[in-house]
């Protein structure tokens, strides 16, 4: 029973995806039913696993090439797995329920739910995998399902392009991930986590090699968790339907990188260099993404940059050695960020696909339930004391305080900026008066959409408390969460960052939305703070465009020249000209005189005789 539950969790979404793809894609209702029952089944099994809290490992032999390579399809359940299972199936279930309403009128509803089931299967595969090779396969599969879901509205050019961008950017990271797996395998001779841990001395014998392998594996996380410099795909991925953004691009898939790092932390731990690089990448991502978020106007993009920033914080947490704290933040972040995305989805749905916060306003009164839950999510994210985010963020900051002050400073500044941009978002979108007709007619969404919001809001409040979290994490793992010794200054600093950020945004933006001039010319409202560098995302997209497109065009130009002049000109036309010229010259010998031919023939014989008899 214990060992069949993981298989049930893994295979029920796959069965649903296959059934929808093969048989049910004509019937929307049947597809929704299949997808929903699969995810509920997975959730139930996950809850049962968490309740029993026993570690299991079941493996089916798959590839056996003697001592060089033995691969199994193995499902590993331990404390780390159980936390992720609960996050993925929990948020997954709520998003499925929410989507039944959000996507109600969509043409491709069956396709959407099929892809959603495929995603659940792949994501649960990553979580349950007991070896790196299997993890890599599912790693690619989540990439595919993410591609399908970002490009769900593929007739929209921007959505199709965003899907391509996400997939291609991820490929760069995945290449590093694969190299890392091969490096580990070449030394240790196995890719199973347990096997690597047993033979870790083989790796630690060569510190440079270990650092290289660790950093290559980290590349996978850089791609999937959208760290600098591969972060560019995540904001564009917001072209997908909002439930997808909540599930894949906020709560689960982008957190897979952090989960993977926590899973292989024992490989990273012996290498101070690798951990230093990871901490630096995470801190830079956290800070820069927070700066970019302060100047965005699209409600989903603000949340996307916020996700980037929080993921950066988690990665930095891994870098300072606090993988338990990072997993804790992943856990709480999944709830409140999914809540925020689903809340923004409710707003977008009610306002007929209006995403610009400056065209909203006053939603506090017209959408009270959405506002309430959104506000709870915001406070949980920004680090309001006694809500989930406060505890988990503090755990990371505390670890950073002990290990590396620059990372701590970056984390603190990120917290301040998080409070700033989230308050800006709430003030502009929910307070004041409606600035457009659409905003004026806002309304709370049907129960199918608000109930998930309420459940997530409750979770956002309670997820941070030791009692609740320990029940899910288990004693042993939870011990890692608060491994660092408490320092009184850290919560005080975190709290002041929260207060400063929130107050700053309130003072700056509250007068702007009260400004009577706003109502005359709603569409031309000016952001009182304008920093083009942040609004344009540090011009990173432009730089990439110039670098990559520029290089590509130069290369294409050279290849075009080479093709035209060398291949076509010298080789193809050259051979043609030589053959033609030889033919033209030789046919002059065909002068038509019979006796002439006979003469040459005779002369030829004489010459031959002369040569042969010489």
């Amino acid at each position: 029973m214990e060992s069949t539950l993981p298989w049930l969790i893994l295979l029920s979404p796959l069965a649903s995806a296959l059934l929808i793809l093969l048989f049910a894609h004509r019937s929307k209702a049947l597809s929704v039913l299949l997808s929903l029952s699969a995810v509920f089944l997975a959730l139930g099994a996950s809850l049962l696993l968490v309740k029993n809290a026993t570690d299991t490992l079941t493996s089916i032999p798959w590839i056996d090439l003697g001592p060089a390579l033995k691969l199994g399809i193995g499902l590993k359940v331990d404390a780390l797995t159980r936390v992720m299972l609960l996050v993925v199936t929990g948020v997954g279930t709520l998003v499925h329920v929410y989507s039944t309403i959000y996507m109600a009128d969509d043409e491709g509803k069956s396709r959407f739910f099929g892809a959603l089931s495929l995603f659940m299967f792949s994501m649960l595969g990553i979580v349950l995998a007991d070896n790196l090779a299997m993890m890599f396969i599912f790693w690619e599969l989540v990439g595919v399902s993410s591609f399908l879901l970002i490009g769900h509205w593929f007739t929209k050019e921007s959505a199709a392009k965003a899907a391509n961008k996400a997939f291609l950017t991820n490929r760069i990271g995945d290449f590093g991930f694969m190299s890392g797996i091969l490096l580990v395998w070449s030394t240790v001779g196995t890719v199973e986590f347990a096997g690597i841990q047993e033979n870790l001395t083989k790796l630690t014998a060569n510190p440079t090699f270990l650092t290289l392998a660790g950093l290559c594996l980290f590349c996978g996380a850089v791609g999937k968790s959208a760290q600098m410099p591969l972060h560019v795909w995540l904001p564009d991925a917001m072209e997908g339907p909002t439930p997808v953004s909540a599930l894949i691009h906020a709560a689960t898939m982008v957190a897979a990188g952090v989960y993977m790092l926590a899973r292989i932390f024992f490989i990273l731990e012996p290498s101070a260099t690798a951990l230093g690089v990871i901490a630096a990448v995470g801190a830079i991502t956290a800070l820069m993404a927070a700066l970019m978020a302060t100047q965005q106007n699209d409600i989903k993009r603000i949340l996307a940059y916020s996700t980037l920033s929080q993921l950066g914080l988690m990665v930095a947490g891994i870098g300072v050695g606090a993988w338990g704290a990072s997993m804790f933040h992943l856990f709480t972040h999944a709830f409140f960020k999914a809540l925020l995305f689903l809340g923004s989805g409710a707003v977008i749905h009610a306002l007929h696909h209006e995403q610009d916060i400056w065209k909203m306003g006053g939603l506090r009164k017209t959408m009270p339930k959405t506002f309430l839950t959104f506000a709870i999510g915001t406070l949980a994210l920004t680090g309001m004391p006694f809500l989930a985010g406060f505890f988990s963020k503090e755990a990371i900051l505390l670890a950073a305080w002990h290990k590396s002050l620059p990372v701590f400073a970056a984390g603190l500044l990120t917290s301040l900026l998080t409070a700033f941009y989230m308050t800006r978002l709430v003030v502009v979108a929910f307070f004041g008066h409606a600035r457009t007709d659409a905003a004026n007619h806002g309304h709370d969404c049907p129960a199918g959409m608000t109930v998930p919001l309420l459940i997530l809001a409750v979770l956002s409040v309670i997820a941070g408390y030791a009692g609740f979290a320990e029940a899910i994490f288990g004693k042993e793992l939870f011990h890692h969460v608060h491994a660092a010794a408490p320092v009184a200054l850290v919560p005080i600093l975190a709290l002041s960052a929260f207060v400063l950020g929130t107050l700053g945004a309130w003072i700056l933006y509250h007068p702007a939305i009260k400004d009577p001039a706003v109502f005359k010319d709603a569409y031309r409202i000016k952001d009182p703070v304008r920093i083009p560098l942040f609004a344009n995302k540090f011009y990173i997209d432009e730089i990439y465009h110039a670098l990559i497109a520029g290089t590509q065009e130069m290369l294409a130009g050279f290849l075009g020249w080479f093709d035209h002049f060398i291949l076509d000109g010298v080789i193809v036309r050259g051979i043609c000209a030589i053959t033609w010229g030889a033919g033209y010259t030789l046919r002059l010998l065909q002068f038509g005189n019979l006796q002439g031919y006979a003469f040459f023939f005779g002369a030829g014989v004489v010459v031959l005789l002369y040569i042969l008899t010489k």
Partner: protein
């Protein structure tokens, strides 16, 4: 003792061949050229017969291989005459001429 040696025969054969080849090169009429070709073939026959005659084996017999080859050449020449003359007749019917200078259309 026969005063004629192999060299005499070969000289005669060579002269015949040269006369034939000169005829092929110099004469205009295609029938004459044809006859000159026959002369060249017979020059070859003459030298073959001479070789046979002057190449006496250990058993006191001449080497008959050369003579067999001569019969082959005679046969082939006969066939060639049959075909060649037919072509010339057809050519004359088509072009009303047997002069090689007028038959130069097969060229670039």
């Amino acid at each position: 003792m026969n005063p004629l040696t192999l060299n005499h025969y070969l000289l005669a054969s060579g002269l015949l061949f040269s006369i034939g080849f000169a005829g092929v090169l110099l004469r205009r009429n295609i029938i004459t050229i044809f006859m000159c070709l026959e002369l060249m073939l017979n020059a070859a026959n003459l030298s073959l017969v001479a070789f046979s005659r002057f190449h006496i084996g250990a058993d006191g017999l001449p080497n008959y291989n050369a003579q067999v080859l001569v019969f082959f050449i005679i046969t082939v020449a006969a066939a060639e005459v049959a075909v060649g003359l037919a072509i010339i007749v057809a050519l004359y019917r088509a072009r009303q001429t047997t002069h090689v200078e007028d038959l130069v259309s097969l060229k670039f």
